[in-house]
């Protein structure tokens, strides 16, 4: 299957995994991720994908099975969402610390309670510290393309870390749109089969997943940290070689839009970015120097890139689908920490919206810019509330 097809984000991602020739796939279904593994299981069944498909009894097992397979040198894939991701949380640190280059798709979904199957970013953002590379995509095409790029990033010798690619639940996973599916020849030209010295081998026995005492444990964590930072160094080269073959490019850790001279900048993640760009265009027509930045990678965090991109801004807002209860939005905490090292003082605003699948309207986005323009108080605010906040 190649050429322009009308498919969903989940299906697009499955096509990306097929093109990347994942050799072992283990997953447990959960809405809104299910379609990805359904499609992959069909591909394996129909012989389109030469892969071992493992049915497991839980997300915990799904990631551990993928880790075991990765330990033999195989290219592996798993996918999950929300509570499933939280259930496998323990395993996330094993995979990252053990430097297993697994690619996982996460369909971003609210975390219970209140129970909800709809989208927000609380599931993955709550796991930022687990040592994975975290990518957030904007549409189905980028999702497919990042499925392929993710393996190139994960398996890079200087990186060797797992990648979590996040797609907004339903808004990306279940929305059908035109997607250009590359040919296998293109994918093969970009991504070679996984070759590694770092695996279980009868002829050259190794120890894996070993203990490190207090003498060197911190050093191992520093090494892991540096490997994650290496993504920034490699992502642009990977993207350039991707563009040469596929004709599409995504840039680095962030995408700025009309930021060159922007006074007010709104930062966001994922599928809402297009709407924010529309609002920026409207405000520019009205004479407001607005701009937007889409964060593509939450880890490594694009601190330098954000400082550079906000060089002319007097105010920066973050529109995010999460809340770290008792403080503020996690994306805001990260952005604010980065911008505190900016050469000039920037007012920062935190707008929490789209929680539990709540719609974010164009008016909501305009209200974020309006708050920055009017220099309203910088307290955390929830936008788009349907009821009056009287508590």
């Amino acid at each position: 299957m190649s050429g322009k097809k009308f498919i969903s984000g989940d299906e697009a991602f499955a096509q990306g995994v097929r093109l990347a020739k994942a050799q072992v796939i283990s997953a447990y279904p959960i809405t809104p991720q299910t379609i990805v593994v359904e499609r992959l299981s069909e591909m394996v069944e129909e012989g389109e994908l030469d892969s071992k498909f493992l049915h497991v009894e839980s997300e915990h097992s799904a990631l551990m099975a993928a880790m075991g397979a990765a330990a033999t040198g195989a290219r592996t894939f798993t996918a999950t969402s929300s509570q499933g991701l939280l259930y496998m949380a323990e395993c996330l640190t094993y995979v990252a610390g053990g430097r297993f280059p697994i690619v996982m798709m996460n369909a971003n979904r609210a975390t219970a309670l209140p129970w909800s199957i709809y989208g927000d970013h609380r599931d993955s953002l709550s796991l930022l510290d687990h040592g994975w590379i975290q990518i957030y995509t904007e549409n189905a095409q980028e999702s497919l393309d990042m499925a392929i790029q993710a393996y190139a990033i994960a398996e890079q010798e200087e990186i060797r870390l797992p990648v979590m690619v996040n797609l907004d639940g339903f808004v990306l996973t279940h929305t059908y749109e035109a997607v250009d599916i590359p040919t296998q020849e293109q994918a093969d030209a970009f991504l070679k089969p996984r070759e590694t010295w770092d695996k279980l081998d009868f002829d050259k026995p190794v120890s894996m997943a070993y203990t490190v005492g207090p003498d060197l444990n911190e050093e191992y964590n520093l090494l892991h940290h540096k490997a994650l930072l290496n993504v920034a160094k490699h992502i642009e080269n990977i993207d350039v070689s991707f563009e040469k073959i596929f004709g599409r490019k995504y840039g680095g850790l962030i995408n700025g839009y009309r930021t060159e001279d922007a006074d007010l900048i709104l930062i966001t993640l994922g599928s809402i970015s297009g709407l924010v760009r529309d609002v920026v265009d409207e405000l520019r027509e009205e004479g407001v120097k607005a701009g937007m930045i889409r964060i593509r990678f939450m880890r490594p965090f694009p601190a330098e890139e954000l400082i550079r991109e906000t060089a002319h801004a007097s105010a920066v807002g973050v529109l995010e689908k999460d809340i770290s209860f008792g403080f503020e939005g996690t994306v805001y905490s990260n952005v604010n920490s980065a911008l505190s090292k900016s050469a000039h003082k920037i007012s920062t605003y935190d707008f929490i919206g789209g929680i539990g699948g709540k719609n974010i309207s164009k008016e909501d986005v305009r209200s974020c810019f309006a708050a920055m323009q009017k220099k309203e108080s910088e307290e955390v605010r929830f936008i788009g509330l349907e009821v009056e906040d009287d508590i």
Binding site: Y118, F170, T175
Partner: protein, 178 residues
């Protein structure tokens, strides 16, 4: 390619194929050179429960992925779901298409087009599945898409055993409209 921005809302019941039809239309729009999105009213699914689906078509890239507050066209697959108040969800000059054998109450100043697609579907498909047939009512208001693109889309994205019959159903509806 002419300028075009359309938001279409489908009303149906789980199992009637409203979402499938929204995708067939979206894929046909893609084949006609337009940008398009198709998505269901997200959430738990149950056969027979009322659901909505949406198709957005534009000559520009579609950045607003949310459910349209107002639509250009509303298609109702099952007349038990029809209510003249649906017109509140229409844009100025919008229209409603209903699969029904009955006379339905029509809101003032709104074009409501009806057709007994169920009867034709029973004859041709052997089952009262009207999701593709009702596109025949809509196409008069959406000439940019082109019936050939609908056919290609049906062949590509529908189960093979339903393809020929659905195309025959559509052709029958279009010939009766003339």
């Amino acid at each position: 390619m002419s300028r075009l921005t359309k938001e279409i809302t489908w009303y149906g019941r789980g199992g009637q194929g409203a979402f499938t039809a929204s995708r067939i239309l979206g894929a046909a729009a893609m084949l006609a050179g337009y940008q398009s999105l198709a998505f269901p009213s997200f959430g738990p699914e149950r056969r027979g429960a009322p659901i909505r689906a949406f198709t957005k078509i534009s000559d520009k890239s579609i950045t607003d992925r949310s459910i349209p507050k107002k639509s250009d066209h509303i298609l109702v697959l099952d007349d038990s779901l029809y209510d003249p108040a649906l017109a509140d969800g229409l844009k100025e000059g919008g229209s409603i298409f209903v699969n029904t054998a009955k006379e339905v109450p029509k809101p003032d100043g709104v074009m409501v087009i009806t057709g007994d697609i169920s009867r034709l579907a029973e004859e041709i498909l052997g089952r009262p599945i009207v999701n593709i047939g009702i596109i025949g009512l809509l196409l008069g208001e959406l000439p940019e898409i082109g019936i050939q693109n609908i056919f290609v889309s049906i062949r590509e994205y529908m189960p093979s055993k339903t393809v020929d019959k659905n195309i025959r159903l559509l052709e029958t509806i279009l010939s009766q409209k003339k």
